[in-house]
């Protein structure tokens, strides 16, 4: 029998089950304990929204949350714009001078330790005498996240059938129109996914933000981090649950949007 070799074995199933339990259980436990009425994080005192209430009365935390959300939105939008342009250059630009440097600059931040990126950007901002705060963090996050956008959009562009663009141009479209009418609708799902990833990475970052922000403008992760260093607090569980919920909403909304646009794009393609 041909299929016996590739059939899924009991060992495969066990490793999958254990693996997913390992990935998900800690988060589930964190969320459950955010609804704990007890002040002691480890003793279950019944269900309660007390810690959410506490968060919504914590001015410093709310300010940090607002800062994070605005940095995330602005930097992700900038990063999506720049990253898509970069992907276009890499996937459709054929050969050009400085291409290797360009792709090197775009791929290495993906794995570059954050302490290095953070330190180097801070030194730049100090040398430029820039006032550190919202804009410096936004620029730092844009630089990091546009690389992720580039990779996602570039891999979508490389897998696309280029004859579609070429056909549009043979039929009299100029390159810009061919891009807007044919290519863009087809890569919208990747652009949306890139934007989502950029927001999440920005909402997640402690290290780069710590280096590039100024006094008095902490982001939410910076505040969470300094609280966590002091120990577990139920309010932090509540904040973390809210962040998870926010990210879940972004993912669901964006995947819905990209599904809509991709089904439209796909049906438009054969025309």
């Amino acid at each position: 029998m041909a299929h016996t070799v590739t059939r899924i074995t009991r060992f495969n199933m066990t490793s999958l089950a254990l693996g997913f339990a390992f990935l998900y259980l800690p988060i589930v436990i964190l969320v459950i304990y955010s609804f704990n009425a007890s002040r002691l994080v480890t003793v279950w005192g019944g269900w309660s929204l007390r810690w959410y209430h506490e968060f919504f009365n914590d001015r410093a935390m709310l300010e940090a949350a607002w800062m994070s959300v605005s940095v995330g939105a602005v930097s992700a939008t900038l990063a999506t714009l720049l990253g898509t342009l970069a992907a276009l250059g890499l996937a459709r630009g054929e050969r050009f001078r400085g291409r290797a440097l360009f792709s090197g600059m775009l791929y290495s931040p993906l794995v570059m330790p954050e302490v290095i990126s953070g330190l180097s950007l801070l030194l730049l901002f100090v040398a430029l005498n820039a006032e550190r705060g919202f804009w410096t963090v936004t620029i730092a996050h844009t630089t990091l996240t546009m690389c992720f956008v580039t990779v996602i959009v570039q891999s979508r562009l490389t897998s696309l059938d280029r004859s579609l663009e070429e056909a549009a141009m043979d039929l009299g479209c100029d390159p810009v129109r061919a891009f807007l009418l044919v290519t863009l609708p087809l890569i919208v799902p990747a652009i949306v996914a890139g934007w989502m990833l950029a927001v999440t990475l920005s909402l997640d970052d402690v290290v780069i933000a710590s280096f590039t922000t100024g006094p008095g403008s902490a982001t939410l992760p910076i505040r969470i981090y300094s609280e966590v260093r002091l120990g577990v607090k139920p309010e932090i569980n509540a904040i973390c649950t809210l962040v998870i919920a926010l990210i879940a909403v972004i993912i669901v909304a964006a995947s819905f949007a990209s599904k809509l646009s991709s089904s439209r794009g796909e049906s438009a393609a054969p025309l």
């Binding site: 999958l16 990779v151 390159p175 402690v206 569980n237 962040v243």
Partner: protein
């Protein structure tokens, strides 16, 4: 001219803005790190003596070159603190990458053998934790690992231990945190190569009399090596410079290089030494970075 060539011109023009952005905010900052790593520490704001001031003209520049100081690098080589933290970073990154490979490979294998319909679901399940904040996931483990946390409660209830075990501020907690955070980065490239593998190769090995185990080591594993390499680099490089996980989960008696840099920078306010440590760390990472860049480029541009 072919349509493809005509399309390439505006595409190249589109890349100008991101090109300039990356030069300004990625490449130029490294020049500053290098420059400050070669300057002297002073107690001031910013806490270093400027090495070159381009406004002072050429003579000043050559004078400044004469004053470049390698003291900070000499300090790195002579102070045990730095050498030990570099070594620790390498050991931690290597060990974690190995553990990740051992755990990630069976999971990726399992995923690749799921029915097609379920593979997409499994893939989303691996990616989703990556989307939830990294800090939050570490915090979730602090909840579980603390003195009267869930893990100790379970162990006590099952009579495996008689007194609560100290988990936080230990190396085991740090390894757990690293493995937990980086597991998706290991699984995804492994799964990508394993799922593309031609099943008929295994069938052929089977027909020719190889046991499943032999077939695995002779066929599956060698063919999955590109995925192994990508996954290992994707984990190894950032783990070397990791800061948050060892800071929150490991003890403070031995530091990784990321922590030492952070300490020099934020606590001791010694920017030149912190910059020198960053340059040294970067040099250490150049070979794996180049390798990763090559793999990445081959993967993204392989067919074109």
């Amino acid at each position: 001219m072919s349509a493809r060539r005509i399309f390439a011109r505006p595409a190249r023009l589109a890349a100008i803005a991101p090109y300039l952005w990356m030069v300004l905010f990625f490449l130029v900052p490294f020049a500053f790190v290098l420059k400050i790593s070669l300057s002297q520490t002073v107690i001031a704001q910013p806490p270093y003596t400027p090495v070159f001031d381009l406004t002072e003209g050429r003579e000043a520049l050559t004078a400044a070159f004469a004053q470049l100081s390698f003291d900070n690098f000499r300090l790195l080589l002579h102070d045990d603190l730095y050498i030990l933290s570099y070594l620790r970073s390498l050991v931690v990154a290597l060990t974690s990458t190995l553990i990740l490979l051992l755990i990630g490979y069976p999971i990726a294998c399992g995923m690749a053998r799921l029915p097609q319909r379920w593979q997409g679901v499994a893939m989303i399940l691996v990616i989703v934790p990556f989307w939830t904040s990294f800090l939050i996931r570490i915090y979730a483990w602090i909840n579980i690992l603390q003195h009267d946390g869930l893990l100790n409660k379970i162990l006590l209830a099952l009579h495996i231990v008689s007194a609560p075990v100290v988990w936080l501020s230990t190396d085991s907690a740090m390894y757990l945190g690293i493995v937990y955070s980086y597991l998706p980065f290991m699984i995804l490239p492994l799964y990508a190569t394993l799922s593309k593998m031609d099943a008929s190769l295994l069938e052929a090995a089977n027909d020719l009399g190889a046991s499943p185990r032999r077939a695995f080591w002779l066929v599956t594993f060698p063919l999955s090596l590109p995925g192994v390499g990508a996954g290992a680099l994707l984990c190894f490089i950032p783990i070397v410079g990791e800061f948050v996980i060892p800071d929150l989960l490991a003890g403070s008696d031995s530091l990784m290089i990321g922590q030492t840099m952070w300490l020099e920078f934020f606590t001791n306010k010694d920017w030149p030494v912190a910059s020198a440590a960053a340059v040294a760390l970067l040099l250490l990472l150049v070979p794996p970075l180049l390798l990763y860049d090559r793999l990445q480029r081959r993967q993204l541009e392989g067919n074109s």
